[in-house]
């Protein structure tokens, strides 16, 4: 048998039909649904008299629109259009009989945090969601990617997707990470190297010692941002850490099924002599704590660097960089560590898990948020919030002066009331620094939770290693 990559193996196990021209119907094991990209899909089913083919494999949770303030049970905290979207999901989940975690459920949270937490995401699965950060689930060695609303409807109706196979790309991070360097720094550094289109057409498998050393939470952070490098999906081969994380979760297999699943999962790795269409290798020790300076996730620099000039770039990037610098209100040559911020946002599907909160708490313990700064922590799910309270992290955040919020996407994309004002500068643990992403005119610098916590203390972009 010819050697295969992990992606090849998962793909081959899910092809339900292949046409002569190579167009495949890929069977979908898990379909995650949220309120923003699904209403038109359910409406499409109603208009054509179709049903959900596999409601047992379909899981819905509202996350993008929901307020994260403590008074959110009061429906007036939502704008009318947001409320309509959330109510539409309530109704669609009920009408079509799919699994549902409503806003009032303690398990509610960001769809990409809830899926793994509840054991819906398992190794070797195909997982899709009408959300580009579905790549997160690749951390379990599952083929997971975002889809548009037409495809959401297609999966609801047929439990398949019309697909052509992508190419294989290996991103190896060798050796150990230095202190203060995290999964977020790995994933941003990779994007800085490949550019936001470097992964287009590929599925990335992340491997190497530095990846193996990461916790499941860290691996999810790495895979989450595969899409920011242009790759629909990022993958990490499952190992004992994966199996330990999954075991005992509500929807993980049990008993004899667990053993059978484990036997298959242990075959899910890339064969030694598998073919790679593209390979990138980065030494773990060369990765520094990084921040973004511009309006594309590829605009990554170590915190010790200076703001670049447009003339440092070539081609279309010259104009793009000039536009970014103007939008971000930055002067070339300024040390990044002198850039003052107004707001700190810790949360999102990239960095809203318990380990992220622990990392932030380790920096914030006994410290105070700089006067005048707005700082909020939005846990990724109700269960992450509960665990952080149990571990005493919430007290650290509150004593430091952070707002301690309920779960949701919040200021990552600012569809709920958590938004930046024009010109407001934010240290954010989210995934996109696009113009207007966190609010019209808002300026976003992406970084790790530890770096965001450090920035909260000093009021400027800060090298976390100075506070360790």
């Amino acid at each position: 048998m010819s050697p295969k990559t992990l992606y090849d193996k998962i793909w081959d196990a899910h092809v339900a039909h292949e046409a002569d021209d190579g167009t495949c119907l890929l069977y979908i094991d898990r379909h995650l649904v949220h309120e923003v990209t699904s209403p038109q899909a359910f409406e499409g089913l109603r208009m054509t008299g179709r049903t959900v083919r596999a409601p047992d494999k379909t899981i819905a949770v509202p996350d993008h629109n929901v307020p994260t303030t403590l008074d959110r049970a009061d429906a007036t905290t939502m704008t009318e259009d947001s409320r309509i979207q959330v109510e539409a999901l309530d109704k669609n989940a009920k009408d079509f009989g799919i699994h549902y975690y409503p806003v009032s459920d303690v398990r509610q949270g960001i769809v990409h945090i809830v899926g793994p937490e509840q054991g819906w995401t398992l190794p070797g699965m195909t997982v899709v969601c009408g959300d580009s950060h579905t790549a997160t689930h690749g951390a379990f060695g599952s083929l997971a990617h975002g889809i548009g609303t037409s495809e959401v409807e297609h999966v609801l109706a047929t439990q398949t997707l019309i697909q052509r196979k992508g190419k294989n790309m290996k991103v190896e991070i060798t050796g150990k990470l230095a202190p203060g360097v995290t999964a977020k720094d790995i994933t941003l550094t990779v994007i800085g190297k490949t550019g936001t289109a470097g992964g287009t057409g590929y599925v990335i498998e992340y491997c190497g010692e530095a990846i193996r050393d990461l916790s499941m939470e860290g691996r999810m952070t790495v895979c989450n941002m595969a899409i920011e490098g242009g790759a629909r999906a990022g993958l990490i081969a499952p190992d004992e850490k994966t199996f330990d994380y999954v075991k005992g979760r509500p929807h993980a297999p049990k008993g004899a099924q667990w053993e059978a699943a484990l036997n298959w999962w242990k075959t899910l790795y890339s064969d030694d002599d598998a073919h790679w269409d593209k390979v990138i290798t980065i030494k773990g020790e060369d990765i520094a704590p990084v921040v973004t300076w511009g309006t594309s996730p590829e605009d990554v620099l170590p915190i010790t660097a200076n703001v670049p000039a447009a003339s440092d770039f070539t081609g279309g990037k010259v104009d793009a960089a000039q536009r970014s610098l103007e939008y971000m209100g930055l002067t070339p040559g300024t040390p990044l560590s002198e850039v003052e911020i107004d707001t700190v946002f810790i949360g999102s599907c990239t960095n809203g898990r318990i380990e992220d909160l622990r990392a932030a708490a380790a920096i914030l313990k006994g410290k105070k948020v700089k006067d005048g700064l707005r700082a909020m922590i939005v846990p990724g799910s109700g269960l992450v919030r509960a665990q952080a309270e149990e571990e005493g992290l919430a007290d650290i955040f509150k004593e430091a002066g952070f707002e301690w919020r309920l779960a949701g996407c919040s200021m990552c994309l600012a569809m709920n009331p958590d938004q930046l004002s024009p010109g407001e500068r934010c240290a954010a643990t989210s995934n996109r620094n696009f113009e207007g992403r966190q609010g019209r005119g808002g300026r976003t610098h992406l970084m790790s939770p530890a770096m965001a916590a450090a920035a909260a203390i000093t009021g400027r972009l800060t090298d976390v290693r100075e506070l360790m």
Binding site: H64, D81, G130, S132, G148, A197, G230, A261
Partner: protein, 201 residues
């Protein structure tokens, strides 16, 4: 879905790279539960100022491009989120064809589901068409999907590649779900086999 065969019209030049889905349709317009009506908010933050007045220098606000139905733009167009609101907004504005050196994967795929033809051309050819588009409304561009050609106002012809299945669906305005339903037996078979081999799924 509207079938796409030929298109002749005005091309609007938008020479920026990495135009992301937040630029195409900002998040505040994702709260709709419909697919239509988003055209007025296409490129909203580049198109309107804080008081909702049109910014006259933005290409789609210029008189000669208000009726554009083709967009010529830079590499990695449509990067970012999977929101299908991006192609919905483009289509609702009246644009049915985008020409760029490259696209983000999910956006590219979403276009075909909505009767929009995203054409990939080498940068040098996009540059020629960009110059042509900059001439304004008199410089009309023609697209022939069947022949896979673009003809600019100078009569220059450019050929482009497109996946045969996607082309077939676009030309006939086919509904993907209907096509897949014809293969339901294969899905049934796959599902029952998988229920044996991977019962935990």
């Amino acid at each position: 879905m509207d079938p796409f065969n030929t298109l002749t019209g005005i091309a609007a030049p938008l020479p920026l790279i990495n135009i992301d889905t937040d630029m195409i349709i900002p998040k505040q317009f994702l709260k709709t539960i419909k697919r239509t009506g988003l055209g007025v908010n296409l490129f909203d933050e580049m198109r309107y100022d804080d008081d909702r007045n049109e910014i006259p220098t933005f290409v789609l606000n210029k008189p000669q491009y208000r009726d554009a139905n083709i967009l010529v733009t830079g590499e990695n167009f449509g990067c970012g989120s999977s929101r299908e609101h991006a192609p919905w907004a483009i289509k609702d504005f009246g644009i049915s064809c985008v020409i760029a050196p490259s696209y983000a994967d999910i956006f590219y795929n979403n276009c075909f589901k909505n009767g929009i033809l995203p054409i990939v051309l080498p940068q040098e050819q996009v540059d020629v068409l960009m110059k042509d588009a900059e001439k304004g409304a008199n410089a009309r561009i023609s697209i022939d999907l069947e022949a896979q050609t673009i003809t600019n106002s100078e009569g220059e012809v450019f050929s482009f590649e497109v996946d045969a299945f996607k082309k077939h669906c676009l030309m006939n305005g086919l509904d993907d779900i209907g096509l897949t339903m014809e293969k339901v037996a294969a899905i049934d078979t796959f599902e029952s086999t998988a229920a044996q081999s991977r019962p935990w799924v």
